[in-house]
């Protein structure tokens, strides 16, 4: 592996062969392309294998609780919207425990970029079903197979007004990193749901399973400004997995919706001592 400035001297705890390594690589490539220095980058994450990601990168890091990465990121972005914030999270983290924050972030159009490492399984806790697990998939605990149909994150995002929706595949690093670059350039909430084989626990959605199914939307002439087409694509069933930008439309990010933030980042105001004195006098 070539060295990058995002490398860090910390033992990686993922299973050898895990799809996450490729995502990590794609991220480094994307940051390099964006000329984003480590000290100018904040990665916020939840708990899970995906949540460990910023531990393996030279970057500013806020590694929080299971399911709550988007809340932390939203707070940080409101505090200082000059920050470049990427959130790394898992399918359980983001669509399970944290699902309420997922739609809330979309509705706020908070200007951060979300990477969901979607291995369709709870990896770190050793293989329980996740919201994106296929209906009927068997696990140690779901011995007769899951009995819930799976959650459709991209459709949920789309119908609730998300302005940048993409899917990636850890098996195509080049493509993934270029989608990442586009997502990070987008002004507003952007998300990439990334197909990621978990070699230890997901024996159904394996590398080759994905490999056989993924195709590139761009090569198929997809017009990602077309909402109706996007709606069709997010409804596509498992047999064909479209990757690339599914939908993109410009929107007003959260920090431009509030007059106080339009002026300057919240963190950069000076303490309004005299105004305050005025008020206190009249309390």
């Amino acid at each position: 592996m070539t060295k990058t400035k995002y490398d860090i001297d910390n033992e990686n705890q993922w299973c050898p062969g895990c799809g996450n390594f490729s995502i990590l690589k794609a991220m480094k490539q994307a940051f390099t392309k964006l000329k984003l220095d480590p000290d100018n980058l904040l990665i916020v994450s939840g708990i899970g294998q995906a949540g460990k990601t910023p531990n393996y990168l030279a970057c500013n890091m806020l590694h929080g609780l299971h399911g709550r990465a988007l809340c932390l990121a939203t707070g940080a972005k409101i505090a200082n919207h000059n920050l470049n914030i990427v959130v790394t999270t898992g399918d359980g983290d983001c669509y399970g425990e944290g699902q309420n924050h997922f739609t809330a972030a979309i509705r706020r159009n908070i200007d951060i970029t979300l990477f969901v490492f979607n291995n369709q399984i709870y990896g770190l806790t050793k293989g329980q079903a996740s919201p994106t697990s296929a209906f009927g998939m068997k696990t140690k605990i779901q011995q007769n197979g899951t009995v819930s149909s799976s959650f459709n994150p991209l459709a949920t995002a789309l119908v609730n007004g998300a302005g940048f929706i993409a899917r990636g595949f850890s098996g195509n690093i080049e493509k993934l990193s270029s989608t990442m670059v586009d997502a990070m350039k987008y002004k507003g909430f952007s998300m990439i749901d990334i197909c990621q084989p978990c070699i230890s626990f997901n024996k159904l959605n394996t590398y080759s399973w994905y490999k056989e199914r993924v195709f590139d939307l761009e090569n198929n002439g997809h017009d990602n400004s077309d909402y109706k087409k996007a709606l069709e694509i997010v409804h596509q069933n498992e047999e064909k997995i479209p990757t690339g930008i599914i939908y993109k439309k410009p929107g007003i990010p959260f920090h431009e919706r509030l007059p106080v933030l339009r002026k300057q980042p919240l963190s950069s105001y000076v303490f309004p001592e005299s105004e305050l004195k005025n008020i206190l006098g009249r309390a």
Binding site: V44, N60, R68, C71, N100, S267, F271, P272, L276, A283
Partner: protein
Amino acid sequence: MGNDITILIGGAAGYGIQTIGNLLSKACHNAGLFIFSVDDFESRVRGGHNFHVIRISNELLSGPSLKLDILVAIDEKTYLNHKDELAPNGIILCNDTGDDTKMSNTTSHIPFEQLARDAGGKIASNTVAAGVILAILGASFKDLEKLLQAQFEKKGKKILALNLMAGKSGYDIGKTIQFYRSFDFNKSNHSNVVMSGAKAAALGALASDCRFFPFYPMSPGTGVIVNASAFAEQFPLVIEQAEDEIAAINMAVGASFAGVRSMSVTSGGGFCLMTEGLGLAAMAEIPVVIINAQRPGPATGLATRTAQSDLLFTINASQDEFPRFVFAPGSPKDTYNAVKKAFHLSEKYQVPSIVLMDQFLIDSTRTEPDDLKIGSEHESFLLSDTKMYQDEPYLRYKISDSGVSPRCTPCSGPFLVRSTGNEHTPEGLTSEDPENRNMMVEKRFKKVKHMKKEMKMPSLLCTEASFFLTGWGSSKGSIIEACLTLREQGIDASWIIFEDIWPLDEYKLKKILRNKKLVIVEGNATCQLGSLIRQLTGIDYAFSILKYDGRPIYPEYIIEKVQQIMGH
């Protein structure tokens, strides 16, 4: 004691009872009088039985009162529920509904609604009532006129005229009613403030340079947010309604990490949902302030009522152990100061601070001498001059003598700020190493020694007394007043009031409490402060005066219970 009367005005929700209270309180405030007012309302938007009790005096009031000098019964329920609380010589003003069976020497029937209708609209009947009361108290019509002008100007000429007319007809009737006391409304120079706890908390946060209020609505906490949002235009503030309380606390932590002071406000059920995030703030050593505005539980309990029953929960909330600050102010002014202290110390020690309030403190309004100051609480502990980290590595969780490590914000210099809720190395990398774990637990707990020194010991009236009314938080005023009254009755009582709750120096506390007969007074059923005192010092209390019906502790209640205890 000075001139001191209490008025209760009761009626259905949506009637505008609170508006009457506000008019009275403004009139009194303008005249330099002191008030203490309490709202009592049900968990509904219209109808039901609500009331407002306002106590007025020409001297500072420490507590509310329930001995009614004037009972204004807009509806039947008010009359029935409160007539027995009338003081000797007290008077009753009833809405005239044609039925005059209640007529007596002390009871006047007043056609509030009819007068308002005559003035142009039933909606102004609360203005009629305000007029009656102000006349009785001795205010001039000019006083009332000024207030109505200020209140209704923005609403257009028609509404203003209607209210002026309604106020006048009420005032005229009031003038005909005999009452045994009156106040001097001509004084005006004073430097008092009238505030609710909710407003005081909002101001305290602003004075601490808090800029971000992520919250999820929950009574009685929402009042603080409503008050803060009144300043959102003039100040660098973002008041953001979160999708739930979990989001609120995590958004606060995220913003604080990025360098903006943040506070969330909630009540018990929401605080439950915040406990995990509280632990994150503690583990990542990110300052954050939470107001837990208590109400009776368990679960939804009595949503618009008051309680002091989250003391032990607040101190012990979240898995495992970590230093935290807990404050329980006793009045709006104390709240202002407690919130400032909460921010200051949270930032100084990089630990979460919790301010325990309750519905009574949040919603009741009182006059206090104005010394709301802007101190140094807003000054930042964030490292701004970070040049040294160009040479030496920056360690977010550097081991230090005090346990406090250098805190920088992300992307503020040529170094990396790495925070995590997992156990971590000084660099902020997750680590499972047992030695590192020990070092980090010890680092976090090193702070406690210093934190204790920041805390005020409980206040006492005097150190020698035959017993000590011992309480905390919002019942402070009632305890003080009860104590003073008891002393007037020749009973040798003192008080001990806790406002800084956690962490306390056990040895100092033991010294203070040793050999004292403690009578614990608090708004819960299990005597939590009593348990806490025993936990910290081994010292047991003698008696407890508890109240858990969801209503505030009034001085009268304490006095009655003390007399029971003493076998009177």
